[in-house]
Symmetry: C2
Amino acid sequence: MIAVHLTVPVWVWFIFVVSVLALFVAFLFTREVLGADNGTPAMQAISTAIREGAEAFMKRQYTTIYGFSLLLGVLLFAFYAVTKDTHLAMITVVSFFAGAICSGLAGFSGMFVSIRANLRAASAARTSLNRAMQLALRGGAVTGLLVVALSLLGVGIIFCVFGGLNPADGYAAAKTVPYEIVGFGFGASFVALFAQLGGGIYTKAADVGADLVGKVEAGIPEDDPRNPAVIADLVGDNVGDCAGRGADLFESTAAENIGAMILAVALYSIFGIKGILFPFVARAFGIVASSIGVLSVKLKNEDEDPMVALNRGYYITTVLAAIGFYIAVRYLLNNNIWFFVAGLVGMANCFLFVWITQYYTEYRYRPVKSIAEASLTGPATNIISGLAVGMESTAFPVLAISGSILASFYCGKMALPGVSGAGLFGTAVATMGMLATAAYILAMDTFGPITDNAGGIIEMSHAPEEVRRRTDRLDSVGNTTKALTKGYAIGSAALAAFLLFSAYIDAINELIIKSPQKYGMLVNGLMVTDPSKLLGSVDISKPPIFVASLIGAALVILFSSMAITAVGKAAQTVIQEVRRQFKENPGIMLGTSKPDYGQCVDIVTKGALKAMVAPGLLAVCVPVGVGFIFRLFATNSNPTLAAEAVAGLLMVGTISGILFAIFMNNGGGAWDNAKKFIETGAFGGKGGDPHKAAVVGDTVGDPFKDTAGPSIHVLIKLLCTVTFVMAPLFLK
Amino acid sequence: MIAVHLTVPVWVWFIFVVSVLALFVAFLFTREVLGADNGTPAMQAISTAIREGAEAFMKRQYTTIYGFSLLLGVLLFAFYAVTKDTHLAMITVVSFFAGAICSGLAGFSGMFVSIRANLRAASAARTSLNRAMQLALRGGAVTGLLVVALSLLGVGIIFCVFGGLNPADGYAAAKTVPYEIVGFGFGASFVALFAQLGGGIYTKAADVGADLVGKVEAGIPEDDPRNPAVIADLVGDNVGDCAGRGADLFESTAAENIGAMILAVALYSIFGIKGILFPFVARAFGIVASSIGVLSVKLKNEDEDPMVALNRGYYITTVLAAIGFYIAVRYLLNNNIWFFVAGLVGMANCFLFVWITQYYTEYRYRPVKSIAEASLTGPATNIISGLAVGMESTAFPVLAISGSILASFYCGKMALPGVSGAGLFGTAVATMGMLATAAYILAMDTFGPITDNAGGIIEMSHAPEEVRRRTDRLDSVGNTTKALTKGYAIGSAALAAFLLFSAYIDAINELIIKSPQKYGMLVNGLMVTDPSKLLGSVDISKPPIFVASLIGAALVILFSSMAITAVGKAAQTVIQEVRRQFKENPGIMLGTSKPDYGQCVDIVTKGALKAMVAPGLLAVCVPVGVGFIFRLFATNSNPTLAAEAVAGLLMVGTISGILFAIFMNNGGGAWDNAKKFIETGAFGGKGGDPHKAAVVGDTVGDPFKDTAGPSIHVLIKLLCTVTFVMAPLFLK
């Protein structure tokens, strides 16, 4: 029987080999993409402008982010020094930096490829839809693979480096190391928050600015080369969607990985080190499945809908991931089939989220149609209707998450009846199931900005109508995949956060158990943990916990407000610049002189970086501040008051975050497609009054779906990781 | 010493005498208002049309509501019959009907006066601003006094009838009766939900319909008699603002009263029956204070700002209420000064809410100005900016509520150190403090629709410019008071809900303690309550509780979506009708023939009543459904699973409700005043493009601030009372 040979070292090798192989596959995709034909000089000129803009922004953005990270790392060390545990302080800070660096690396390298893939996809579109689609997807897959592989490799290496996998002590340290490396998740969250916020503000400020002056005031079409902000707009698609979502999912996978390890510690007596390795192995199988999925995508003929081909690849990925999951359960979780079922629950949740998102954001269905119809009576009814659709769209995802959490919880309980922690491990397994296809989903997501850019390049280089039709088809598919990924991202963020709550409570209690001299009581002359001092519940019926929960929910809303306002502020600077160029250089509109694209790129870069600071700091400071303030009221008999309050803040903040993110993502997506629906000729088509009303809705939806909404995904996980890392400081 | 004579019967007499006196004062105000000059025949004709429309709507609305109530009463009896306690079933159902009837009575009688006061205020405005203001305020005070007095009287009589005040048994039943009469609060909530929803949908459907066809399509001014929907619009001000808010605050006071009594039961060993009487006495003093406050309002001269005079009355009311509060604490709560401080905390919270609401909704301050400025770049930026302001405006109220809850909780703890339940009683006392001025606030609120209608009557009857200026001044003050009352209503709803949570948990545990044979254990051969079966916490870290909490938060958002959509649907019917009339009868626009106002009133009545059903049923069915479903998973060792899940739904639903209501109320108010600010001449003034953009924002804000937002206040309390009444059925 083969099982005999599948010892722990074999699995460890498997994990590392797959991660490295994934990086190699990413390299092959990169070579393939870069080696493809790169079009006419006109196309190259545009692509170069986009690339330079994106790289300039990314460089400045990451410089800022790493500046903050450095500061925070020092603060973190200082905070921990108070607890006098310099070993833990060191591990935390090193993990923090590792997480921050890996996240940045994944985002940056992914971007490197995608801003080059746009040109190749555009060039290929001149001859073959299939080839263009493949290049865009494989360019996107570089981001997908890098994100997941670097997350796996990063957590794995950190875990090993700090002694988590030491056969010499019989893997005893594996029970404590997972708690200590949460800093990795925090580092990833911290970078992701600013990456998503900065990118999200950039993309929408450029978009709104370009549209308001270009389309509305000057009456020139979208992606018109005469618009000075057009390059900034195309840059935005990359830095917002591609880099932002990459950082977002990097964080989800890292946080889920660590959270699941912590929950596996509770089951150490049953699965031993294998339970702790399980999340890695499940993820590794997911990478293999995703790579094959990406390679399998091919149009049956040039007339096939690219979305059908992408979905086919997704189904293949899901089936392969499920098989891998089964193998992992078989060999690592004692072939306990209930855990396999829990994993399937996670995959089903993924499907549900994708379907629901489609229903609420595609114009084939009632919601978007109702918005388009409401445009007949003007912008006000369009807006009211869009807001109502966005709000309504929260209901089914909530039922899906609720069902998944409960079903996987009961799977866990059925798997190991009577074992405490088994139910929660079931939810962890479901999260792994949901995230198993992350690399493929990210490839589809990054496909979006690549095809969007390809369309822009084709448009601006005045390519023939037939080519434009091809890129338009790809672009429209890209819009769909971007919307779906947002659904996926918030669904997985919700599950990952739920995992981290449990891990947070475990971590608090671990700290209490570790200090019997402080939190203990004398039993027969022996100092043991006083069970009444443990954090047994997060009881929102207590006034302090209720108040902290209320603050958590309000934090999300204030954060959204700040993110939206930031877009408006940054957009104002773009508007002024575009107006200035039109006024000072009338040749631009006549087509006789070229606008100064670089100036717009520069202005929106500065604006976005400045605007991302306030909401970012708010997200970090509020939970920490609440913890510190409530700690003042903690007593020796109730040392966990602040820790419990922060848990309330975290959980209710997450609930509020899930709902607000879905509301904003779907509302924005629905407005966008209501406009597109009218542009297909419905309700008077392009140029009519209903279309103008729909453009208003689309503009309102932009900061919703591309700035505030996705930033909330990251906020949710940041709240979890920041509180987790600060946990020791919340105890009296 | 006088204290010797202030025995329990004296206080009981005091309560009933004050209630009856308040009804008498309301009668005197009514006589004064009805006896005032009622203007020219032209004015009377308009007022009659408004009155008939309002009465027709109210009659049909209450017929529908009481139909539902009857059905629900029967269902309630049937549900309770399952528990085999027919005595309790009877009390619950009788209380339910009593609450429903008192709420309806208060709303209907208040409306009776206010739809007549509009004409008298309009008539008085022809000669004196002061007299017009006084008539409008006293007309509004009838609603205020009726609401508070009927709530006091209703709860008081029910309490006595069911034996709560029986000196023969040494007031022993006072410890159980408060739990049994929660049905009163449920009845009031149930009526309030439909009253507010129906009224809110009516008012905005008529408003949006009248504006979109009249102002936008036909280009005629607001309140133009040629608009067929103009009377429906004026009717809407009454049925939405006046009747809706009246029912809302009736519910708050009733629910707070019963909740506070339940919390006082926990302190029975300390205060005895006096603690249970305290909420009544504090309320009675509040009525006295409010009556004097209303009578004191008078302009110093015809040029004084009416808002200053109204504020003066409010300060007088607050000071008198504080003095009454002190007396009540002195004689009923053992002169324990900390409880007086808790009451002051509640009053301070009231002030804070009013200030914050002013800051976010008046155009003197940054937020509204920023929306007006954003209108320069069109409707999209106006909307984005308004949404951001609405979201931002949740932060400070949350801090105010948080501070009030914590401060009053600690006051309670300081008042009775070491006594369990003292802290929560402190928060109850703060709620009483906040609600002490309810009658005055309601008078100010109803002042709004009365002056709005008076303005409409003056406008439509072509009165001289000078008179219009007077009614415009009053109307603008009325807009402010309406906005402030919404802040007050949500602040008090939040505190009242917090009170009811605690009471709900008490009630669950009371049920468990009452049934030792079911939930008990044998100790020394004696069946006693098993403490492990009590509902000790509402632990949202447990998956089922977290899921229920998530559903609670989503419920609020789905409910908002349905309320907003309902306005749109009902408005569509009005739009079609107005267009039809304009088309079929061209004489209307020429001013040669009269439009058919009655038809519009009839159509919007039908539309609003139909549209209120779905969101109303959702609000009742979801908490009950979640309770029943989770009950299936409860086990004998954990009989409170469903009760705990419902508590989570309730609390997180309340958090989400507080935030959404503030967001919608303030966002809507800010949009409204941004438009008004531009109309004062800023950014190009009336008719310019920024003004058009601001009109879009105002229209979007309408269903926010007048339908969904206020309905959420009611929803919050309905959730509390429905779960409370159903509590016995959630236990295994």
